[in-house]
Symmetry: C2
Subunit: 205 residues, 2 copies
DNA sequence: GTCGTACGATACCGCTCTGTATCGTATGGG
DNA sequence: CCCATACGATACAGAGCGGTATCGTACGAC
C-alpha cells in the first residue's frame, strides 16, 4: 500500500500549521486536505472528525512543545528555567510580527465549549509542563518547588499573551526579570529551610 | 420615532454578552438580533457589519473594564494596584467555572486577522490600562513606574489566562504575591533614587 | 497474477453563515 | 393631520461549512 501512515502524518502536519496560523474555525476541511495533498475522505478514514483532528494535533504537539521550552540538556536548573523565556523571546522576534502565542492557550480560547476534546489535552499539557517546572525548581533547591512552578507558569502565559498583543519581546523580558526574582527568592528560602516538593499545584482530572 | 438609540443600545448589550459568553464566531446575526429583540436590518442600519459591531462592543467596554479593575476611589496606591488581582479572583470564583478571561484578549485571540477593526481597540485598551497603572505606580513612589506597570500587566494577563484554563483562582493569588514583590521592590528602589515616570512602555499607533 | 485495500478526486447533502431586499407599521415632528 | 422615518418581521441570495457517497486507481501481500 502507499504508505499507510503517510496520509495521516501529512494531515497532522498541515492541520497543526493551519490551525495555529489561521485559527481552527477559519480552517476548512477542503483547504486543509488540499494543503496536505490528501483526499478529503482520508481525513475521515483516520479521524472521527475535525474535532478529533484538532485534539490529536495538540496531542502530538504536547511533547514537542515542552521539549522546545525545556530542552533536555544538562545545565544549571536556574538557567534552564530562565531559558524558557529566551525561547519565547526568540519566537516573537523571529515571527516577523505574527507571533500567535501558546498553541494550547490559543486552541482553548477559540473552542469555547469546554466539552471539546481539545480541552483536556490543553489542560494536560499545562499540567505536564508544570511537573517539569516543579522538578527543575526542586533541582534548583527552591523552598516550595510547586509554588515556584505555578508562579513561573503565570509568568510564561502572561509573557506569551502580551507578546501576541504587542508583537514585541519586551513583556517577555519583563517576565524573565520577574522569574529571576521569584526563583532567587525561592532558592534563598530553600537554603534556609530546605527543599520541599509540592506538586499539587495543578491536577489533571 | 421609537427611541432612535434604543435598538442600537439593545444590540450592543446583547452583542457584548453573547460575544463574550459563546465567542464571536459562534454568535450568528440571527441569534444576536433575536436576543436583542430587534429586527435584523436594524443591525445594518446602525453598524457597517458584524466586524464593526464587534469593535464597537469592545470600544464601549474599554472604559467600564478599566474602571472595574481600578475603581476611582481614594486609597493607598499599592493597595489599589493589588486590588486588580482581587477583582479578577472574584470574577473567577463568582463565575461558577465559566470564567472567560479578559474580553479584549479573548477577542484578539479569536480574530486572527490583525486587520480586524477590533485589534486596535484591544491594543488601545491595554495601553490605557497601562497608563493608569503607570500613574498609580508613580503615585506609589516606584523607581521606574513604566517598568512596574509593564510587569503588572504581564502578571494580570498571565493570571487571567491561567484562570481560564484552570477555572481556579490559585494562579491569581500567585500573581498577586508576585505583584506585591515587584511593587515593593520598585517602591524601595524609589525611596533610594527617587521616582521616574516612564510611560513609553506601550505605545498606541 | 490476482485480490484486497488504502488512496485521491469529485460530486453531493443539509445546514448555517453574513448581508440584502422588501414588506407592513407605528410614531413623532411640522 | 400627514408624511418621513426608524422599526420588526420575513424571505432570499451567495457562499462556505462539516461530513458522506462513490468513483477509478495503484500498489502490496500472498
Amino acid at each position: 500500500m502507499t504508505g499507510t501512515k503517510d496520509a495521516r502524518a501529512r494531515l497532522l502536519r498541515a492541520a497543526e500549521a493551519m490551525f495555529y496560523e489561521q485559527g481552527i474555525g477559519n480552517t476548512g476541511i477542503d483547504a486543509l486536505t488540499a494543503r496536505a495533498g490528501v483526499g478529503k475522505m482520508s481525513l475521515y478514514r483516520h479521524f472521527a472528525g475535525k474535532d478529533e483532528l484538532v485534539a490529536e494535533t495538540l496531542r502530538q504537539r504536547d511533547e514537542r512543545h515542552r521539549a522546545w521550552l525545556l530542552p533536555d540538556e544538562p545545565g544549571d536548573p536556574r538557567d534552564r528555567l530562565l531559558g524558557v523565556f529566551d525561547r519565547i523571546a526568540d519566537a516573537i522576534e523571529g515571527s516577523g510580527g505574527t507571533f500567535r502565542g501558546c498553541p494550547f492557550v490559543k486552541a482553548v480560547s477559540e473552542l469555547e465549549d469546554a466539552g471539546h476534546p481539545a480541552w483536556p489535552v490543553a489542560r494536560e499539557h499545562k499540567a505536564r509542563l508544570t511537573s517539569a517546572l516543579v522538578r527543575l525548581a526542586a533541582e534548583a533547591g527552591a523552598a516550595d518547588a510547586g509554588r515556584l512552578a505555578g508562579d513561573l507558569l503565570v509568568l510564561i502565559d502572561g509573557a506569551a499573551v502580551q507578546g501576541v498583543i504587542r508583537q514585541d519581546a519586551a513583556p517577555v523580558r519583563a517576565a524573565r526579570r520577574m522569574a529571576a526574582l521569584v526563583i532567587d527568592d525561592a532558592m534563598e528560602a530553600g537554603r534556609r529551610v530546605g527543599t520541599r516538593v509540592n506538586d499539587d499545584a495543578m491536577e489533571v482530572e
